[in-house]
Symmetry: C2
Subunit: 137 residues, 2 copies
């Protein structure tokens, strides 16, 4: 057997490119696809507080995709918008707003307008952390 070492140049997206792609996908309502494409395997979400039926910190892409899938099935989004991402080093900040009707939890059946600021941290071309700050409506 002949061994051969081959150098492969991998091109990784920088923070601005990840931010632009997330903005593009989420603006089209493709939140789940954004997670699939841009999240690192060990990505985590850090909410400002624990939600009913959900921990404050959710770790790992499989758990996040499962949560996202459940969220997409149970809630009805009437309108949504994603602000221009603001970049600083390995992080970017992005405002997300949504007009939706909740499908489960204590607010099931209720329509609400929600807005939050999402702080993403990027490493090796992937999102490794998202931290959420809730903006007053």
């Amino acid at each position: 057997m002949i061994e051969k070492r081959v150098w492969v140049l991998i091109s990784l997206m920088d923070t601005q490119q990840v931010a632009n792609r997330l903005h593009e996908l989420c603006s089209a309502g493709q939140y789940h696809e954004a997670m699939e494409e841009l999240y690192a395997d060990d990505a985590k979400h850090i909410e400002a507080m624990a939600m009913p039926g959900q921990d404050q910190i959710l770790e790992g892409k499989p758990a996040l995709l499962k949560m996202s899938e459940h969220w997409g099935k149970t809630n009805t989004v009437h309108e949504q918008s994603v602000g221009t991402p603001l970049v600083n080093g390995d992080q970017f900040l992005c405002q997300m707003s949504m007009d939706l009707t909740m499908g489960d939890g204590p607010m099931a059946g209720q329509r609400a307008q929600m807005s939050e600021w999402c702080l993403y941290t990027v490493a090796d071309g992937k999102i490794k952390e998202a931290r959420f700050f809730y903006a007053p409506c």
Copy 2:
């Protein structure tokens, strides 16, 4: 000599309390006083980019106070506002907007409306890091 050990209970501000106090001081235009009172000795500022005559990262409370003093002397603030701080764990996010006339640098003499999102990290009751994200005007 008699040695005596005394337990002292130190009360440190939590993230929400630091955020509220910063909001209170900055809303009154007391940015410099906020830095004096709330910043840790090894606090640092991380700008989104290097400014003319200023590094992207500025470290240490003495250097930050010096910068703040110079800033206050050279610029004229016509109006300013500070948004409600949004807390998540050891961090909080706060929008700061300002209508000012620049006193030096490439925009000296020009009036501008600036807005930024400031992300503060708190440890042991003090601000140890501020990272700035520039919002489009």
